[in-house]
């Protein structure tokens, strides 16, 4: 009996952490997906996340208001996206290279700001888990306070997260709708697939790319903030630890669709959660190997060629109206 309870608790724990840990990946990968759907490959997600993580943390630390922190993180990411857009869209630089430059820039600047403005690792009380509680509903015959978290199994898995977690998952249907059902989304898709066609119909190719790279930046910034002010409550130099690059991989894995990206993020974070629990429970596996697991999975998942047809045909190609 006790044994069964423990197994159930572990499964609930893994599912809960899987959803929770998916948050930064989801924000970052959805943002990157938008940039790529418009035809811009931005490898600087990691740098944008670090800037967002720092800005979000610092503002929350100073004001005590995590919402202001999220706003600051979004603005920081947006400005990073603007840099990327200027370099890769207007100046038509090689996107793979300029993205790496952006990453190094974000890494350096966030470390510098951390050292000069904070100096030591501090903690903040950022977002708390949301409480889905109702009190005294006689109709449902509930007289004391009832929280959805208390629903067996489902409750602790789904109803014990901070608002940023729900925000990330809410973005999935929102972005799907925007991409597939709106005029702007049609422009984005066309610009990523055939910018010459879009241009011939007076869609501003570069404008759409600016919008998406900056949106991607803002979401990457929020991704960083979700790490620093929601999941961990601290800021450290280089704390994203490769998440931004995994996010780029997740876009390919997810076949450039919001649902695919979400599936990838959940798979990745679940394996991550699993490996954490494996370590906690003290299974006889070298922890280095366990830590490797998610990354190994990424490589394997990316090696499987499926849904490649969805790849934006103009990805990483700057647009110039042809005059031969």
């Amino acid at each position: 009996m006790t044994q069964e309870l423990t197994v159930l608790a572990i499964i609930i724990g893994i599912a809960h952490s899987g959803i929770r840990l998916a948050t930064p990946y989801l924000y970052a990968a959805l943002g990157e997906m938008m940039a790529q759907r418009s035809g811009v490959l931005n490898l600087g997600v990691e740098g944008m996340m670090l800037m967002g993580a720092f800005a979000g943390f610092y503002v929350t630390f100073q004001t005590g208001n995590p919402w202001l922190g999220v706003l600051a993180a979004a603005v920081a990411g947006l400005l990073m996206g603007l840099i990327m857009a200027v370099v890769s869209v207007s100046l038509k630089a090689e996107q793979g290279i300029s993205g790496i430059g952006l990453y190094l820039f974000g890494l350096g600047v966030s470390s510098l700001l951390f050292k000069t403005m904070l100096g030591t690792v501090e903690g903040v009380n950022g977002f708390h888990e949301m409480q889905f509680c109702v009190a005294n509903v006689p109709l449902l015959n509930i007289d004391s306070t009832f929280c959805m978290k208390d629903i067996p199994v489902v409750g602790p898995i789904f109803f014990d997260h901070s608002v940023l977690v729900y925000g990330a998952f809410a973005l999935v249907p929102i972005l799907w709708f925007v991409l597939n059902k709106t005029t702007w989304g049609l422009n984005v898709r066309a610009v990523g697939q055939n910018p010459a066609a879009a241009d011939s119909l007076s869609v501003g190719v570069n404008r759409v790319r600016y919008e998406n790279v900056m949106l991607g930046g803002a979401l990457a910034g929020i991704a960083g903030a979700s790490l620093s002010i929601a999941l961990l409550g601290i800021f450290q130099e280089g704390m994203t630890n490769g998440m931004g690059f995994i996010a780029v991989a997740l876009v390919y894995f997810g076949g450039w669709s919001p649902v695919g990206v979400m599936a990838g993020a959940l798979l990745f974070s679940s394996v991550n959660a699993l490996q954490l629990w494996v370590q906690v429970l003290g299974f006889n596996i070298a922890s280095n190997l366990a830590v490797m697991l998610p990354y190994l999975l990424t490589i394997i998942a990316l090696a499987i060629p499926f849904r490649r047809a969805q790849q934006p045909a103009a990805l990483s190609k700057p647009f110039t109206r042809s005059e031969t």
Partner: protein, 541 residues
């Protein structure tokens, strides 16, 4: 408003004859005056005056490189003219981008369609439409597409993805798209190049409907017959300038051709008698797979002799590509034997084939046939750099290479700015001449030419056919793969019909009959055909 306001005095003198006026005194749909467009090193259009009346189908005729597409790209706002002025329906316009042209009611259907293959017909048509609400109404969009399609006789499924459509259907989507975007003047760039004869008739019916409803159509082409059958007036461009504007009813094909080329055109080539010599190329029971690993060649047997052109007739996709590739060592065969000059070369590497004297003019000029970003000189040396005089040990003698290339430019009458020009900048005809020059300068024993005149204009086609005939007269064995039966009848000595990877029948072209060949191309067996048994011992399969 009037052309006389033009700041170019010389344009004003050209305009002295007064701009064209319709009987109802309406301004012309399009009036271009003194248009000059320069590219680095080239003048694509030189002082072109071009006027199109409202409600007419006006053909713009000219050889490749005559400046038709450039002039129309100027009209469609893609290029800014270096000089000159444009009026649309009497309004002076100054286009900085295609969107300006669309706003003025000028839309262009490009030769390479401006469509997003993974999106639906409706999505492609509604892309960039300003009035659409933020949230797209797919039902309304589909209804609008169907309505325009019906109005102009262009049925198309609004919910189909572009990549699922035939090329003809994609063209309809393009036309509906520019109509929906408000085009009054439609420019069609070589619209029939990609169509079957039936689709062409359908397109012509659509164009007549459109002009009947007050639209104006500019039709770019280099095909004389279709221009004569569809156009009201024809403007012939030659070497960047206007040769003449004529009424279609007043001219015939020969007059148009000489306007285009600037001299009399021979529609018949001289083909001296040559007795076939020894067997140069022999394929026996050759089998090969296509890229999808399906059988493409099935026990194909064929011989080509010295001093002989064997024409392969057939509908594309019946093994032509694979046939050419196995002979050149680019595709492995799974059965049978290939011999060149009596030597077995089955599944030999391309270099062995080249050294055995096999030359190849591939179907795809710019991907298989040439390296687009390399210079003309380098492209002519791609097969000869290993040996003297171009190669020397591990080095290439660039001066020698350039001198040889210069000689080829003269000999084959290639028009290119210099031997250093990247071949991607050449027109299709000139690129084909570069490829032929390279292949023929190696004195080939066997020449495989796949669709050598596809997409070329009259002048270039004539030149290419003449080059092939000269080679045959000099003793080469030539395998000519072509979709154009006229071409095969004009220059081949023998015709083999290819169907599903088999030779359905072989004929001497002198006593071949079109109808029989047509039936065999569609897969009807040889027993209904008047074949001479001596000529096709292998055909029964």
């Amino acid at each position: 408003m009037t052309p006389a306001q033009s700041k170019h005095a010389h344009v004003a003198t050209i305009a002295a004859g007064e701009p064209w006026r319709a009987s109802d005194d309406a301004p012309p749909a399009v009036e271009m005056r003194g248009i000059t467009k320069r590219f680095p090193g080239v003048i694509a259009n030189n002082q072109v005056d071009f006027t199109v009346k409202r409600g007419e189908i006006h053909a713009l005729l000219g050889e490749n490189g005559a400046g038709k597409s450039t002039l129309m790209n100027v009209l469609a706002g893609l290029y800014k003219p270096s000089e000159g002025t444009i009026w649309i329906h009497g309004e002076r316009v100054d286009f900085n981008s295609p969107r300006d042209a669309i706003a003025a009611g000028v839309g262009m259907v490009h030769q390479h369609f401006m469509l997003v293959p993974v999106q639906t017909v409706a999505e492609n048509i509604f892309l960039g439409v300003r009035e659409t609400p933020f949230v797209l109404d797919y039902k309304q969009m589909a209804a609008d597409v169907r309505r325009i399609g019906t109005q102009y006789g262009m049925p198309v499924d609004p919910n189909a993805k572009i990549w699922q459509l035939s090329v003809g259907e994609q063209q309809r989507v393009e036309i509906i798209k520019i109509l929906y975007h408000g085009a009054q003047v439609l420019i069609l760039d070589e619209p029939t190049a990609v169509l079957t004869p039936q689709e062409t008739l359908g397109l012509f019916a659509t164009l007549r409907t459109m002009v009947a409803q007050g639209k104006t159509v500019i039709f770019i082409s280099h095909k004389l017959d279709e221009v004569l059958s569809i156009a009201d007036r024809i403007t012939v461009l030659r070497a960047g300038g206007v040769a003449e504007t004529v009424f279609a009813r007043d001219v015939n094909k020969v007059q148009l051709a000489s306007l285009m080329v600037g001299r009399e055109v021979l529609f018949r080539l001289e083909k001296p008698e040559r007795a076939p010599g020894e067997v140069r190329l022999a394929l026996s029971a050759v089998e090969a797979l296509d890229n999808k690993n399906l059988p493409a060649l099935r026990k194909l047997t064929l011989k080509v002799h010295s001093c002989e052109i064997v024409g392969i007739a057939g509908v594309a996709g019946n093994g032509q590509r694979e046939l050419a590739e196995v002979i050149c060592g680019l595709r492995a065969i799974s059965g049978g034997v290939i011999e060149v000059c009596g030597k077995t070369v089955t599944n030999a590497a391309p270099i062995v084939m080249i050294n055995a004297g096999v030359a190849y003019v591939p179907e795809d000029r710019s991907t298989t046939g040439s390296a687009p970003n390399l210079s003309l000189a380098e492209n002519t040396a791609i097969k000869s750099y290993r040996d003297e005089p171009v190669g020397k040990g591990m080095f290439v003698k660039r001066n020698t290479m350039r001198t040889i290339a210069g000689g080829l430019i003269d000999r084959f009458n290639i028009s290119a700015p210099s031997t250093a020009t990247p071949v991607r900048k050449l027109s299709g005809g000139n690129l084909q001449k570069v490829i032929l020059a390279r292949e023929i300068s190696k004195r080939p024993r066997v020449l495989v030419a796949a669709y050598p005149t596809r997409g070329l204009d009259i002048g270039a086609t004539e030149a290419v056919r003449k080059i092939l005939l000269d080679e045959r007269n000099d003793g080469a064995a030539i395998l000519l793969i072509s979709e154009d039966l006229d071409e095969i009848f004009a220059i081949a000595d023998r015709i083999a019909v290819l169907y599903e990877g088999r030779v359905m029948g072989e004929f001497a072209s002198a006593d071949a009959d079109r109808e029989t060949i047509g039936l065999m191309m569609a897969g009807h067996a040889a027993d209904t055909a008047h074949t001479s048994p001596a000529r096709n011992p292998e055909a029964a399969s």
